[in-house]
Amino acid sequence: MRWINRTPGRAAALCLMLLPFAALFIAYALGSEARLAVNPQDKLLPAPSKIAETAGRLITTADRRSGEILFWNDTFASLQRLGLGVAIAAVTGLVTGLAIGLFPYVRAAASGFVSVLSMVPPLAVLPILFIVFGLGEVSKVALVVIGITPFLIRDLSQRVLDIPSELFVKAQTLGASSTVIALRVALPLVMPRLIQSVRLSLGPAWLFLIASEAIAADGGLGYRIFLVRRYLAMDVILTYVIWITLLAFLFDFALRRLSQRLYPWAGEDSL
C-alpha cells in the first residue's frame, strides 16, 4: 500500500501527536541534566522540576511590595491589551473589507492604499506611536491594531470578492438593496472567514504586544520576560513562555469551536 493511503488509527494518532512534545521534553531534560552535572549553579537550562517549582511560586505568591500576585496582574494587563487590539482590528477589518469587496468605488479608492499600507513594517512605526500616544496603554493597543488590520482588510475583501457572483445576482433578483446584500449575504458569508483570519493573526498580535511591552511598560507578560532577562532567570522566562503558548493555543481552540458552533453551514474549509 502507498504511504499516502496509510492512516494511523486513533491510538497511534494520539501517540504520534504526543511524540514530538515528549521528544522536546526529553531533549531538554537531558541537556539540562548534562549542564547541571558540570556546574550545579548553571542558569541556562534549569531542571524541569525547578521550572515547575518556580511556576508554582509565581502563580500563588504575592509580591512583597504591592501585595498582589504579579503573574496574574501581568496576564490580565496583556490580555486586556491583546483583546482590545484584536477586537478593534477585527471590526475595522470586517467593515473595511466588506466595503472594499462590495463597492467598486470604495475598491478603486482604498485597495491600492491598503496594499501599500500593509507593506509598512509595524515595528518601525512603534517609536512614532510612543511619541504620539505616549508610553501608556494606547500605544500598545495601537501597535497590535496597526500590525494586523491591513492583513484582515485584505483577506476579508478578497473573501468578499470570492463569493460567487451568482449569489449577488440572485439577491438582486429578490429585490435586495446594497445594504441588504451587505448585511444578509456578504456579511454572514465572510463571518467564518473573519474568525479564521483572526486566528491566523493572533500569532502576529502576540508578537507586536510583547515587542511593545518589552520596550515600554510597567506590567504585562512581555514586560516581565524582558525584565527578568537581566537576572538570567530562565525558570521565570520559561514559565511565562509556556503560559503564553498555552493561552494562544486556548484562544485558537476557542475561536475554532465558536466558528463551528455559530456557522455550521460553513463546512470543513473554514476550520
Binding site: 440572485k170 433578483t173 441588504v180 444578509r184 458569508l189 455550521p264 453551514w265 460553513a266
Partner: protein, 255 residues
C-alpha cells in the same frame, strides 16, 4: 406588441464578438428553450436578459420598456450552481424573497410570521417541508434546484431565466423537475427562458426552441465571428407544427 423584444443585439468581450445580430420577439407566457454548442453565448444572452450585462449594440425591451441597467425583481434566475444561499436554512431561503425587500433585510413580528407560514406552505408543496430547518448543503442536487426555483418564484417575477437548471441531475429527478416546472408555469403563466444541452428536454418543455450557432465560420480564426439565432423551431404539439388544426386522432405524437 410582444412582451420581450430583442432587436439587433451584438455583444463582444473586448474585440471578440460573442453574439451578433440577435433579434427575437417573445409573447408573454411563452416558454423558450435555448440550445447551442458550448461557449456560443447562451449564458451571455441570459445575462443580458437579466440585465447583469448590457448589449454592446442593440436594444432589449421588456413590456415596451428598456431595462434599467441592473438585475431586478421582475426577472428571476436559477443557475446550475450557487443558486441558493448556503448560509440560510431552507426555510429562510424562501423567506428571503420577502425579507430582502425590506430596508435592512429582516422581517419582524407579524410580517415575519406571515412570511414563515407562506414559506412553510411553499416548502410543503415542493416536498421540502421535512428539511425546512436544514442548510442547503445537506440537500441533494434535485432538492437544491427545486428550492432555487421555488425561491425565484417566491419573488413573483414576470420572467424566469433558467441556465442549465437540471444539468447536474439524474434522469429520474430530471423528469420530476420537468413536471414541477410545468405545473408552476401552468399556474403562473410566466414567461420562461431556459438554456439546456438536452434537446429532448428543450422540445418537451419549450413552446419554441432557439438554436444559437455561428452563421459564418472562419477556419483560420474560429473566434472571428459571433453566434446568432439560426433556427427558431415551433416545439408545441411535440414539435410537429401545423398539426393542431388537423384531427388529433391520426397524428403521431412522440411521448
Amino acid at each position: 406588441m410582444s412582451f420581450v423584444s430583442v432587436s439587433g443585439v451584438f455583444k463582444s468581450y473586448g474585440r471578440r464578438p460573442v453574439l451578433e445580430a440577435v433579434s427575437l420577439e417573445v409573447a408573454e407566457g411563452e416558454f423558450i428553450s435555448l440550445v447551442g454548442a458550448s461557449g456560443c453565448g447562451k449564458s451571455t444572452f441570459l445575462r443580458m436578459l437579466l440585465d447583469e450585462e448590457q448589449p454592446t449594440r442593440g436594444t432589449i425591451l421588456v413590456d415596451g420598456m428598456p431595462l434599467s441597467g441592473e438585475p431586478s425583481q421582475s426577472r428571476g434566475i436559477v443557475f446550475q450552481r450557487y443558486s441558493v444561499f448556503p448560509h440560510m436554512s431552507v426555510r429562510d431561503n424562501i423567506v428571503a424573497a420577502t425579507a430582502f425587500q425590506t430596508r435592512f433585510g429582516w422581517l419582524t413580528g407579524a410580517d415575519k410570521r406571515a412570511a414563515r407560514d407562506a414559506a412553510a406552505k411553499t416548502l410543503e408543496r415542493i416536498g421540502l417541508g421535512h428539511v425546512a430547518d436544514q442548510y442547503p448543503a445537506s440537500l441533494s442536487g434535485g432538492m437544491q434546484q427545486r428550492l432555487a426555483i421555488a425561491q425565484a418564484m417566491a419573488a413573483r417575477p414576470r420572467i424566469l431565466l433558467l441556465d442549465e437548471p437540471f444539468g447536474a441531475l439524474d434522469p429520474g429527478t430530471r423528469l420530476a423537475m420537468h413536471a414541477f416546472l410545468q405545473e408552476l408555469r401552468a399556474e403562473t403563466g410566466m414567461t420562461v427562458f431556459m438554456v439546456t444541452h438536452d434537446l429532448e428536454e428543450g422540445f418537451k418543455l419549450g413552446d419554441r426552441v432557439l438554436v444559437f450557432d455561428k452563421p459564418r465560420w472562419d477556419p483560420q480564426e474560429p473566434e472571428a465571428y459571433g453566434a446568432t439565432i439560426t433556427y427558431d423551431f415551433d416545439a408545441r404539439d411535440g414539435g410537429i407544427p401545423y398539426q393542431r388544426l388537423e384531427e388529433d386522432t391520426h397524428v403521431f405524437k412522440p411521448r
